[in-house]
């Protein structure tokens, strides 16, 4: 397994000099995942922060072939590229020895919401590609609007904390299970805070025949209102509170990769650093906070049980 020193020395596919906010983890997530293969890689990227900050014409941070099409179609687009690869190989225009991997990146808006149909169909068709959703829990490129990945109680610009409605009232969409319902060979949830785990999952995904999926938490400095040096720490707290369980679904089998057990922290430890949750820790919003805690506990226990049972859910 590559350590951080090896990683730093690697020829990177996504180069520095892009224009993300200070402390934004999204490009780090992308670079880390892409470092997990030595094969050629082609990237498709949905409209969103990652795309915007890396491709401001006439510059591009992408040192590999890259396409941004529109917002909701990163998966359909990469499926076209992957199909072209197979076709051109068949007709001999691409050398038989060339091995190319295909990766699509999308934010949670471009994945859970507007791009879900495109993703679902590409998974169902079985293209060999890896879809990576960097999940910052909202539409950040457009200023922090709610998405279906935004957790209960969060303050967003389209569902703000008001006098009669206190931010988002609905639970997060369970994208991992939706993806798994396509019976793809490999899906995993990962976090930047657990580097070897992330790299291992990226390596697995990038060597899977057929579709693979990675869901990585990407704490947003600007909209979560956290300090610029906190993104990795917030990722760690998300894992240690069981808000963001590290797990895989491989051929239908759940595997929990990390259980904080006795060291599990209450959800407030994750929330208290974030401006978007300031209100949630006030006593008057305790009901909402309890709902969030109950949901986190329930989801974690479910994943844990499913991994203990060890049978394929396919």
């Amino acid at each position: 397994m590559m350590n951080l020193f090896d990683f730093a020395k690697k020829a990177h596919k996504l180069l520095p000099g892009h224009r993300s906010c200070a402390g934004c983890p999204a490009p780090i997530v992308a670079r880390a995942i892409l470092s997990a293969t030595d094969d050629e890689v082609v990237v498709s990227n949905a409209t969103g922060c990652l795309e915007v900050v890396t491709t401001i014409y006439p510059q591009s941070s992408w040192n590999i072939p890259f396409i941004h099409n529109t917002f909701e179609n990163a998966a359909a687009t990469i499926s076209g590229v992957e199909t072209a690869y197979r076709s051109l190989k068949k007709s001999g225009r691409i050398n038989q020895n060339r091995k190319i991997r295909f990766v699509a990146f999308g934010g949670d808006g471009g994945t859970y919401d507007i791009g879900l149909q495109s993703l679902s169909a590409a998974l169902e068709r079985g293209h060999t590609f890896t879809y990576v959703c960097y999940d910052n829990e909202g539409y950040m490129n457009t200023g922090g609007q709610r998405s279906s990945a935004t957790p209960i109680g969060a303050n967003t610009t389209t569902d703000p904390v008001g006098e009669v409605r206190v931010g988002k009232q609905e639970s997060r969409k369970d994208l991992m299970k939706i993806v798994a319902a396509h019976h793809i060979p490999y899906a995993a949830q990962a976090s930047l805070s657990n580097w070897p785990d992330l790299l291992k999952k990226a390596q697995k995904a990038l060597s899977t025949e057929g579709p693979s999926f990675l869901l990585v938490l990407s704490p947003c400095v600007a909209v979560w209102k956290i300090k610029p040096d906190m993104a990795v720490e917030l990722s760690r707290l998300a894992v240690d509170t069981c808000f963001w369980p590290l797990y895989e679904i491989e051929d239908g089998k759940f595997r929990l990769n990390f259980d904080p057990a006795g060291n599990k922290l209450p959800i407030a430890e994750f929330l208290k650093h974030q401006g978007r949750y300031k209100h949630l820790l006030e006593p008057k919003n305790k009901k909402l906070l309890d709902r969030l805690q109950a949901e986190v506990d329930h989801e974690f226990e479910k994943i844990k049980k499913l991994s203990e049972i060890g049978i394929s859910v396919f």
Partner: protein
């Protein structure tokens, strides 16, 4: 060359078989469906080496062919009506990325009310999307235009996508004799596609679809317009090359008895055939009637149209779609073509055939009659409309 009994849809599929694109992605919609079904059979019978992506929507069909085309593959899709409307966002992305995608579009009315029959509201809504647009009178033209389209789109100094239109049901589902090229001839006319920039074939990595702000966007759009201008530079040589193989002519705007005409009707697609029948009848009666059929709608051949129309008394323009609250699409182009002439003919716009309403010879005769009498106005006139 060989004569086959083909529907318009069958003719498009036959051309697709001969072009043998690397990738096709498509989604069914009436009346485009027989193109895709016929082509899918070619794929599954091994008659083409195309990889077919059976997508879940037209938006994904266009998105996937954009991916394939940017990868360096020859890529196609086909659609109709609301399918084209659904892909509108990415139709623009395709031309903005300068991808030579070709797409037969079988014209059908847009919803609502839902209607599966022919009018041109779908492709007219895309007339400013940066695609070359070729209209086809019949199955033969639907076939021939596919070859023109492929060569125009892929010309290194054009690199724009092309839509090839035919009328839903009227053309797409009617069987006609179609002269088909030999496979080998078709193949060598089309040649191979070797893009200068692509995701998979370029030596250096290429970024497609970068963000451009106020500092570059405008120039990029201007380059698209210059590429459209280049269609004029290369159209005739491509068309002549095809003529040598087929013996048929491919004028931008096809004149029919226009030379000595007093009145000329202007139309797109299958209406031209019906109008020709009426012209023949009127000519027998000694009336100087003519037709100008527009093949290329984008870019629009203003000067050719002007040359054909400038000497007549009056012109009737037949539109199979609205531009609500304004002059209909074809009418506004014809008025623009004639603008500034010292003795411009009078122009009357007619709207007909929406949602598949038949265009009757009697209606066309009525229009000719009015125009011979010099009756024109700025009002919209209708053919075949009740009340």
């Amino acid at each position: 060359m060989q004569k086959k009994a083909l529907t318009g849809a069958g003719a498009s599929a036959e051309a697709m078989r001969q072009i043998n694109p690397d990738v096709v992605a498509a989604y069914p919609i009436t009346p485009q469906t027989p193109i895709m079904e016929t082509f899918a059979k070619f794929v599954n019978d091994g008659k083409v080496s195309t990889e077919l992506i059976r997508v879940e929507s037209e938006h994904s069909a266009m998105s996937a062919v954009i991916g394939a085309s940017s990868a360096g593959a020859r890529a196609m899709t086909a659609t109709s009506s609301v399918g084209l409307a659904l892909m509108f966002e990415v139709v623009n992305a395709a031309s903005g990325m300068r991808l030579p995608i070709t797409m037969p579009v079988v014209n059908r009315a847009l919803s609502s009310p839902i209607n599966i029959h022919c009018d041109h509201s779908d492709t007219m809504a895309c007339r400013d999307a940066g695609w070359i647009q070729l209209y086809s009178e019949n199955a033969q033209e639907a076939y021939d235009n596919m070859f023109l389209a492929q060569k125009l789109s892929e010309h290194p100094e054009i690199l724009l996508p092309t839509m090839i239109m035919q009328d839903g049901f009227i053309t797409s589902h009617s069987v006609e004799p179609v002269e088909v090229l030999d496979d080998e001839t078709a193949k060598s006319f089309i040649g191979s596609y070797n893009p200068e920039h692509s995701l998979l074939l370029s030596k250096k990595p290429v970024t497609f679809g970068a963000l451009q702000l106020f500092d570059y966007f405008f120039e990029t759009k201007r380059q698209q317009e210059l590429a459209m201008d280049n269609v004029w530079r290369f159209y005739y040589s491509i068309a002549d090359e095809l003529t040598q193989l087929t013996g048929r002519q491919y004028p931008l705007a096809e004149p029919y008895h226009t030379e000595d005409a007093e009145v000329i009707l202007v139309a797109l697609n299958s209406a031209a055939s019906t109008i020709k029948a009426v012209v023949n009848k009127l000519r027998k009666q000694g009336k100087k009637a003519g037709l100008l059929k527009i093949r290329l709608f984008r870019p629009f051949p203003y000067s050719e149209v002007s040359q054909h129309l400038q000497k007549v008394k009056s012109v009737g323009v037949f539109d199979r779609s609205y531009s609500f609250g304004a002059n209909s699409p074809l009418l506004s182009e014809i008025i623009s073509s004639l603008f500034g002439l010292e003795q411009a003919p009078k122009v009357q716009g007619y709207i007909f055939g929406l949602g598949g309403r038949d265009l009757l010879e009697a209606d066309i005769e009525k229009a000719f009659e009015e125009l011979f009498q010099g009756k024109t106005s700025f009002e919209k006139k209708y053919l075949g409309l009740r009340g």
